[in-house]
Amino acid sequence: MTELPLMLPALPEMVLAVAAMGLLMFGVFARGNAFTACTWGASYALVIAGLLLTAGLGTRVEAFYGQFVVDDFTRYAKLLILVAAGSSLLMARRWMIAEDIQRFEFPVLMLLATVGMMLMVSANDLIALYMGLELQSLALYVMATLHRDNARATEAGLKYFVLGAVASGVMLYGASLVYGFAGTTGFAGIHAAISGDAAAPVGVVVGLVFVVCGLAFKISAAPFHMWTPDVYEGAPTPITALFAIAPKVAALALFLRVLMEPFQSLQTDWQQVLIVLSVLSMVVGAFAAIAQENIKRLMAYSSIGHMGYALVGMASGTSEGVRGVLVYLTIYLFMNAGTFAVILAMRQQDRPVEAIKDLAGLGRTQPLMALAMAIFMFSMAGIPPLAGFFAKFYVFMAAVDAGLILLAIIGVLTSVVSAFYYLRIVKVMYFDEPLEGLDPIRCNALRVIMGVSAVVVVFFFLSPALVVDSADVAAASLVAAR
């Protein structure tokens, strides 16, 4: 009889997977619409998974014969993913019901996507990596088309699927090249195979570049960003809110591990690629957003820009850089969750609207909502004392420390350009006269998420150490594992 592999470290993932299947069964056999019940069930599953994450804090455990790893870095990233998924789920409930797409598959798919993302974060092997990535992607493709009678949503889903499949293919090809030259798919094995005195074989470098391209697609870094605006615009807004946060966190965490662990000795090679990706993303994010009229498209370009800033930290390739990326992601999570709560609250005569001009005069008609949105916009522009400033501060600090001063200068300059379009939203809300006005917010979940995010963003400066120190521990656990 063969011994079962060590599985306990994956308990949070297993809870979510079992919950997903249980809820699926419940949804199929329940009488009436199981959407609300499934949403609450999924929320509880996320909370339980979050509590289970804390087990064994501070230790590094490998499971499934080394394919799956749990350390402080994965715990940190998974916590962000769970918070992001949970907030999207809560924000979605009312919206889905109002739009008459209250399908119980949504929470189930959300759980499956979350499992996939957590697997990505914990992947310690190219195969585990691919499995996690595909589980996540397939669930997300379906979610993008959840509104199946809507042509735009269907188009978004299809586009996402086709381009995503190409990216996965590219990455798989790269992974197979790496396997061919390194002789193993395990991260530790790859590291051992290529970190000798001899120069790494060209095939590994080519494979690495393919893998990086695939991952860049998943975080929508330029020049692999083409799908982002269309998918963001087409998908139902709560799902866009999910797209904007959780998969980015997962893919960036995975990205960090791949670069810092197996390919750490090729830093000089991947650093150039990352610098290019980062500069392009920041520039595209800054300039392309200026002309946008639709707020979801604007957020798409904004997220491309933000990924550029996160890549600045990653390009420095140091523990400070990893810390910077984690701090950035944490703050990004709150800014984006809050912004999307505002976008979801944009309704006129009970129809959702998404043009920037619909926000006109919000400062008078709904002062608190406008204030929250203004806080998020100033924060995204990186104006102190709001949290967004500290996010940029830490990644640029890492970049300057690693000698990438030019990259930091390009970064701060593009942040000025992007300040223009964030300010434009503030301008529309406060300087323009109200046109039709928006409906008052009816959903408490949106109010809570807006309020909590705004408070976090405003008061982050009181004790940045709360986040930064944990991020530091997480970053150290990743870098120490080399």
């Binding site: 102190p384 300057v400 001063i405 301008k427």
Partner: protein, 507 residues
């Protein structure tokens, strides 16, 4: 006893507390809210001013050390702290900020009719940012306040401004931000070299000579925009013209001082070698600012724009004075900044008085106001004379000291900026002539009321201070002396050490 109270934090955050009260507590009908907001803002800023006077009283002028120091860990692992303190350079800027804010609240009493609560909140937040910036002794803290000013000012210009307010607000924000982010990179470089962002420690750190020039340029990108120095001054006329009266007062009175303060706090003490090297460039830019913008001011048709350009010219004096690095010149520069803060603020208020009545700032629409507004004409004349630099007013002391100091370093610079004094007299007198003198012919001017009691109450303290500064400047120069002497001492020592080093290397 007085040592244990965190005075600086209290005066920094009291306005913020007032703003929070306005946001959360004040309720009622629109009219009630507006009225309560005005009173809350006035009381908050008034109490803040009163408290800041205690700081002045408790200030020990005999030492160059930082006083009222407060130090709390903020990011302990990274050498970044919440560190506050003032010295002879920052003392009067703190008081200038707390002095002007209640006057601005009073000046906006009736001029602002819409969204009064939001307006007052913006002003109180702005006060916190300004005071905090002058008190900050940690570079990151300084940067937070320095940039934080942008948010309330952007809203003040954009929401309550004139016809082209959106353009002006964006230009102000983006211009300033562009400069500041370059300073952020310099901040990071300095931090990674010194391992801390504590300003006193950074002042004692010797940065490598070949870095200094780059760091200096990055800092200058930020401070020069704020001052503003020619050729990056173009945001100022737009912002001034479009801002509401009180916004212009704060812009001219305090925000412009942030740049020059930055030069004195960072560029000069931390980067002495680059300062010595760049002084010539700064002199040239200052001369251009003084002469060119004075000529531009002469050609203006809009009162606010004229005063805005005169601000650029006056700040040209200040930058020349700072980089002359003699005792008289630096003290003169500091004095000139204070004087300009009061005088240009008062001039904007003077414009505001007639603007509130006639809703135009076009000079040609006025004339002969001396006939029916004698008190206004008198007040306006005093501030006009102070701006020109008439002996007995505050403007004279600053300009005189600067020219005296600059003359010791470069007599050509002194000669050319002295030309600015003459041009200043020309454009100010020309303005005064067109607005106040002549026959009262235009029918809509005949009905204008003279200063109301509330307006007189705003001007009275300003008149008093301008005369006080002009007649007995020592009250203000005294506390600066030790700090300025120490600054120049440190600068000379650093230069001497560098030349010694070069001499040793050459041998």
């Amino acid at each position: 006893m007085i040592e244990t109270i965190p005075f600086l934090s209290i005066i920094t955050f009291l306005p913020l507390f007032g703003a929070a009260c306005l946001l959360l507590v004040v309720r009622g009908t629109e009219e009630e809210v507006a009225n309560n907001s005005r009173w809350v803002a006035l009381w908050t800023s008034g109490v803040t001013f009163a408290l800041s006077l205690f700081v002045w009283i408790g200030f020990d002028p005999s030492t160059a050390d930082f006083q009222f120091v407060e130090k709390v860990d903020w990011l302990p692992a990274y050498g970044i702290g919440y560190h506050m303190g003032i010295d002879g350079i920052s003392l009067f800027f703190v008081i200038l900020s707390t002095f002007l804010t209640p006057l601005c609240v009073l000046a906006s009493w009736e001029a602002i009719k819409t969204r009064v609560r939001d307006y007052m909140i913006a002003f109180l937040v702005l006060e916190t940012m300004m005071v905090g910036m002058f008190c900050a002794l940690d570079y990151v803290l300084f940067y937070v306040f320095f940039e934080g000013v942008l948010i309330p000012m952007f809203l003040i210009i954009g929401v309550w401004g004139g016809a082209r307010r959106v353009y002006a607000a964006f230009k102000f924000f983006l211009y300033t931000l562009l400069g500041s982010v370059l300073m952020l990179v310099a901040l990071l470089v300095m931090y990674l070299h010194a391992g801390t962002t504590d300003i006193p420690t950074l002042m004692a750190t010797a940065f490598p000579e070949d870095w200094q020039i780059w760091l200096f340029l990055a800092l200058m990108a930020s401070f020069a925009v704020k001052v503003p120095m020619w050729p990056v001054h173009t945001w100022l006329p737009d912002a001034h013209v479009e801002a509401p009266t009180a916004g212009s007062v704060i812009l001219a009175g305090v925000l412009l001082k942030m740049g020059a303060y930055g030069f004195l706090r960072f560029s000069v003490p931390m980067l002495p070698l680059a300062t010595a090297e760049m002084a010539g460039v700064i002199f040239v830019l200052s001369i251009i600012a003084v002469i060119y913008t004075s000529l531009v001011a002469l050609a203006q048709e809009d009162m606010k724009k004229l005063i805005a350009y005169s601000s650029v010219a006056h700040m040209g004096f200040v930058t020349a004075g700072i980089f002359a690095m003699t005792q008289q010149a630096v003290e003169g520069a500091l004095f000139q900044m204070l004087s300009h803060g009061i005088v240009s603020g008062a001039l904007f208020l003077c414009v505001g008085v007639v603007y509130d009545r006639l809703h135009t700032r076009e000079i040609a629409r006025y004339g002969g106001l001396a006939n029916n507004m004698p008190r206004y004409a008198l007040v306006f004349m005093l501030f006009m004379m102070a701006s020109v630099g008439l002996p007995g007013t505050s403007g004279f002391v600053g300009e005189f000291l600067i020219m005296l100091g600059v003359f010791q370093v470069s007599n050509w610079t002194a000669l050319l900026i002295a030309l600015g004094v003459i041009l200043g007299a020309v454009y100010m007198l020309y303005l005064y002539w067109r607005v106040i003198y002549g026959k009262l012919e235009k029918p809509d001017l005949k009905g204008l009321m003279d200063l109301r009691p509330r307006e007189a109450a705003v001007f009275a303290p300003l008149v008093l201070v301008v005369l006080w500064m002009g007649i007995y400047p020592n009250t203000f120069l005294g506390p600066m002396q030790a700090t300025v002497a120490n600054l120049i001492d440190g600068y000379q020592t650093a230069l001497a050490a560098a030349t010694d080093g070069v001499a040793v290397a050459a041998r």
